[in-house]
């Protein structure tokens, strides 16, 4: 049981997908303008990632390995992620049109989010068991959501700061993200 907790801990804190492995930066910068957009995006990504990493494990384990079609991995993972994202977009458009409009372009963008594909490929390469793959996906998504929510709250606070014009907008966002990853370096080497 403890090494499951360890998997979650490492994916959320130690090698956090956004701040240590620098994956999934475009939604990280794009959606962090307001808190509820960030929470909405976090939820959507968690839903997509967990489902996608489970399905990709199933496909990889029972379909690609027996017929040693491992070279088809990337294509099939992309297909699975696309389907899951399309499914979640339809659900969100139906459930809350406001959130759908706020997320706007970034919802379909999850398909091309490198963190999502990265999770599927990494867990396949590290030969995780089913439970480990699910936890790995879920942990990565939680790490992404945590950092995204913190970053959006930080940016709402910075919106009132007297930032020089040259740095307004995404420039100060990137600097702040840089310092955030500096802070997360503290976790590196956590045994």
């Amino acid at each position: 049981m403890s090494e499951y907790a360890l998997i979650i801990l490492t994916t959320v804190l130690v090698n956090n997908f956004v701040l240590t492995q620098f994956l999934g930066l475009c939604p990280f910068m794009g959606v962090s303008r307001s808190l509820d957009a960030a929470i909405g995006m976090g939820m959507a990504t968690t839903f997509v990632l967990t489902l996608a990493s489970t399905l990709s494990f199933v496909i990889d384990h029972w379909l690609l390995d027996p017929f040693n079609l491992r070279y088809l991995r990337t294509i099939s993972f992309i297909l699975i992620i696309a389907i899951v994202v399309q499914f979640s977009e339809i659900v969100i458009r139906r459930r809350s049109p406001m959130l759908h409009r706020v997320l706007g372009l970034y919802l379909p963008l999850i398909t091309t989010n490198c963190a999502v594909l990265g999770v599927a490929l990494l867990s396949a390469r590290q030969h995780h068991s089913l439970v480990e793959a699910v936890l790995f996906g879920f942990g990565a998504a939680c790490g992404f959501t945590l950092v995204l929510v913190l970053f959006s709250l930080l940016r709402t606070r910075l919106s009132g700061a007297d930032i020089p014009n040259a740095f307004k907008g995404n420039a100060i966002g990137l600097i702040t993200a840089g310092i955030m990853s500096l802070a997360f370096m503290g976790f590196s080497g956590l045994s």
Binding site: L153, L154, A161, I163, I175, I179, L182, A183, G186
Partner: protein, 336 residues
């Protein structure tokens, strides 16, 4: 005539000004600095002076760049305080050019890119320290052997400091003899070689090493600040409580608690670094959570992490959570 609404003088206002706050914090640092110079190395004064001067210069440059008058902003001495804290956190033998990089990151990236005093979300001193820790890992862990001072002339030391690369500059100085690992690193290296830790030898090493006295000096300064109501008790107490709670649960059996508390820079962090009002949480409850987070994170990083000193990363991580803490606290306050 200016339509003055609140006439502070007539109402007998007794407010401290920002400048007096910062200067009294610098005053409170003096006992710690004296112990540091006596027990570990007087080079810290060189570092501190150098850091303060370059920090003030860089700040004047940054403010001039923003097109504002720089005198009033420099007067509030907030950057001088941060520079001194940085100089105290880095090892005394650090080459000056590396300290300059740290100060530049601190002033420009930590403070003025966000718009000056009051707008920066991260503690500037810790941003500078973390940047130095990651870019110069090797020279950031070279600590002086507290008692190995006599057999070296001061001039050699300063000459070694000014050179570009610290290790190969002066072969006849046996570096190992000079740079004695801090007690924490000592424990870690012993554990790495899985030697049994002889407790008595360890305690002896720490007690006679200067660290204990340095930390006592900082504690004295911290209590002075508390007494003068410059800082409130919420952050220091919760930082130490956070650290002690986890240390009691997870640290080596038999290792006396006060040993780990009084080694390294936990006291400096708790009383001087974490209580920087600009980057700390703003409400009472928020500060307790903020302090507890710093304490526990610095223990986790120190015990399991890759770096000997966790206070810098702990402060940065909790600065990151301050907007969340304030947001949650406001929702809670609004509800009842």
């Amino acid at each position: 005539m200016a339509n003055i609404i609140v006439d502070r003088r007539a109402a007998g206002a007794k407010a401290l000004s920002t400048q007096r706050i910062m200067l009294s914090v610098v005053l409170a640092l003096i006992p710690g600095i004296v112990a540091y110079c006596y027990f570990i190395s007087p080079l810290v004064l060189v570092n501190a002076l150098f850091a303060v001067l370059t920090a003030l210069l860089l700040e004047a440059f940054a403010i001039r760049l923003r097109g504002k008058k720089c005198m009033p902003q420099i007067q509030d001495a907030s950057i001088a305080l941060a520079a001194i804290l940085l100089a105290l956190a880095v090892p005394p033998m650090i080459p000056l050019w590396q300290l300059l990089v740290g100060v530049a990151v601190m002033v420009l990236l930590g403070k003025h890119v966000y718009g000056g005093l009051g707008h920066n979300p991260f503690n500037p001193a810790m941003v500078g320290y973390a940047a130095m820790l990651i870019s110069f890992p090797q020279s950031m862990t070279l600590w002086m052997d507290p008692l190995g001072l006599e057999n070296l002339a001061l001039v050699d030391l300063i000459q070694a400091k000014l050179t570009l690369n610290i290790v190969t500059s002066n072969p006849q100085i046996a570096w190992d003899g000079i740079t004695q690992a801090t007690p924490l690193e000592h424990i870690r290296s012993l554990k790495a070689q899985s030697q049994t830790i002889v407790l008595s030898d360890l305690i002896q090493r720490t007690m006679d090493s200067g660290w204990c006295w340095v930390n006592l000096g900082f504690l004295l300064g911290g209590l002075f600040l508390l007494f003068k109501r410059i800082i409130q008790w919420h952050i220091p107490v919760s930082v130490i409580a956070g650290y002690v709670l986890w240390a009691g649960l997870f640290s080596e059996p038999g290792l006396p608690l006060h040993l780990s508390v009084f080694s390294g820079s936990l006291i400096l962090g708790a009383f001087f670094i974490a209580t920087d009002p600009v980057t700390a949480a703003s409400s009472k409850r928020g500060r307790l959570i903020f302090g507890f987070g710093i304490g526990s994170l610095s223990f986790v990083i120190r015990e399991f992490g890759g770096y000997p000193e966790g206070i810098a990363f702990a402060v940065l991580l909790m600065n990151l959570c301050v907007p969340l803490i304030d947001h949650a606290d406001r929702q809670l306050a609004r509800r009842n």
